[in-house]
């Protein structure tokens, strides 16, 4: 009885946060699942249709094209961010004298509101400086989507850079010196000493960037052309719910987007061995 009471008391510290989390995420998600089982719109009312919305989506070419577009964007953005972040982070680590200023500068793009980044990057190819530099002419929705994707890459690279630079500073100096004394080549030192040390932090930030990029909405939304064939899954979900007002179908898309995020997490967490950080 005492042990049980002690367990409850320990849980008591956690309980308010758990209750709030359930109220603001689990309950709305439950409502989304329930709505997804209906054909629902403000004009026609609501009708229970079971899994019809899901079977419709599974057979929909438009939906799978949107999912594929999202995944391509995620892969492109995160791979470039990782590559640039590793290079820039290593450079910052070696030129330590600039680190106090650089650690502020690299974080500025990240803390700029994403919608501001999207608008300015879109404008850069839509009659802006990139148009005038490279004579791009009329930029269509695809060119604008590429521009805002580059903008998203720009926003997140600073975070990866900062994490890499900070992790490199924590590589055990004696281990590194021993490797040098043992005659290890640069590549061997990188593989055997540096990478195992910075790996967990880089894995954590990579996993976060994957899942954060997957849910990006404002970029595709501001470059959207209703006739465009290429849409991301978040954009298609948003327009289905808030433009077409097909609430049931949009809810089914929302459920599939969340399942997609869970699948992505299930892939990247073991792949990057993020569990060590949790």
């Amino acid at each position: 009885m005492t042990a049980r009471r002690s367990g409850l008391r320990r849980l008591g510290w956690l309980l308010p946060a758990v209750v709030v989390l359930v109220l603001v995420t689990v309950v709305p998600l439950g409502r989304v699942v329930w709505t997804s089982l209906h054909r629902s719109s403000p004009t026609t009312g609501s009708e229970l249709v079971g899994l019809d919305n899901y079977t419709h989506l599974v057979a929909s070419r438009e939906w799978w094209l949107a999912v594929a577009t999202s995944l391509v964007l995620v892969a492109g953005v995160v791979l470039v961010q990782l590559a640039l972040g590793l290079v820039f982070g290593a450079a910052l680590h070696r030129v330590g004298v600039v680190w106090p200023v650089a650690r502020v500068v690299v974080l500025v793009p990240l803390v700029l509101l994403s919608v501001v980044s999207v608008v300015t990057w879109r404008d850069a190819v839509n009659g802006g400086f990139l148009t005038s530099w490279f004579d791009l002419g009329e930029a269509g929705p695809f060119a604008q989507l590429v521009a805002v994707t580059v903008g998203e890459t720009w926003r997140g690279t600073g975070m990866v850079t900062a994490v890499v630079a900070l992790s490199l500073a924590q590589v055990t100096a004696s281990l590194s010196a021993s490797a040098v004394a043992d005659g290890a080549t640069g590549l061997q030192r990188w593989r055997r000493v540096v990478l195992p040390s910075i790996g967990p932090a880089v894995a954590g930030v990579a996993a976060f960037r994957v899942l954060d990029t997957y849910r990006v909405l404002d970029g595709p939304l501001l470059t959207d052309d209703p006739s465009a064939r290429l849409q991301t899954a978040p954009l298609l979900t948003w327009t289905t719910q808030f433009t077409a007002l097909e609430l049931g179908l949009g809810a089914a898309m929302s459920v599939l987007v969340v399942i997609g995020a869970a699948v992505l997490a299930a892939i990247v967490v073991p792949l990057f061995r993020v569990r060590r950080l949790l």
């Binding site: 946060a17 509101l113 400086f129 005038s132 978040p234 949009g250």
Partner: protein, 326 residues
Amino acid sequence: MNVASHPSIRSRLAASVVAFLLGFAMANVGLIVVPRPDTWLWLAAAIVLMVTGVVGVLVADTRRDVSLWAVLGVELLTLFTLAPLLWVLSTATVAEGSRRTTLWPGDATWSAFGEVWDAGPVRTAMGTSLLVAGLATVVAMLVAAPAAHALMHRDAPGRRWWYVAFVAALVLPTFVLGAPAAAQLLALDLATSRLAMAVPTLAVALPIAVWLTVRVLRRAPWSLYDAVRADGASVGQRLRHFAVPHLALDLGLVTILVFFWTSADVALGAAMAPTDDQRTLPATLLALGADPESSRLVAAAGLWWLLPLVLVATVFSRRLVSLLGR
């Protein structure tokens, strides 16, 4: 201490050649392709790179512990980071009714920075964001602090799984919560209440608050706390001699970060507000941004919103990076 060994002469010479060629190519592109006044920006960057190449050759055979590759990397990082920021400033300083076509903010007019504060949608939206994100941040921090303590020290049942749940909520696509949140507010007849919008916004604020607070508690010197307790310190003394010096500043920083993270969310703000004057700042900028003529206002508002964060990042840069880093 650096993990790499002393750079070789060959490595320095190779970096110098790459820097010089890159600068030479930029100078050519700048002169041939890029219109003025941006030509001067290209030439300035080109000169820096070419000088790096020349200096690299001069110091290649010295014992200075300088990696030319690293210097080149830092220069490219500076270009990569600052050029788009300059474009944001250029966009914000264009005259009303015209479009900026150059990266350099020539003929800058600063009226957009003032218009943001005039009575209008952006000022209202800033107020809404302050209210909604501020309230959500306060509530989130109040429940996150004991939760983080339980996750770290109280051996709460299933604490690892709860922590995973908070981290999962951190990366949940928030736009999926927009429709049910709006429907719930409508059902409760609270759709026009800006205060009520803070409740669904907790879905953004709480996970980041728990995650960051756990990170703060992980870094705290708990052996010192045990020692203070073993010495028989009272609760007040523990607060004064342990919590305030070792936790207060970091928790204050976490509160600021949670506020700005929460206020940056676009999807919930756009989904919940039934009228234009109820939108949060990102949602208002999203609506304004659809019209390229309003880009100057969007950029100006973004820079105003960025200013306090840059100040915080400048003052607490070391703590901030280590908090977000490892």
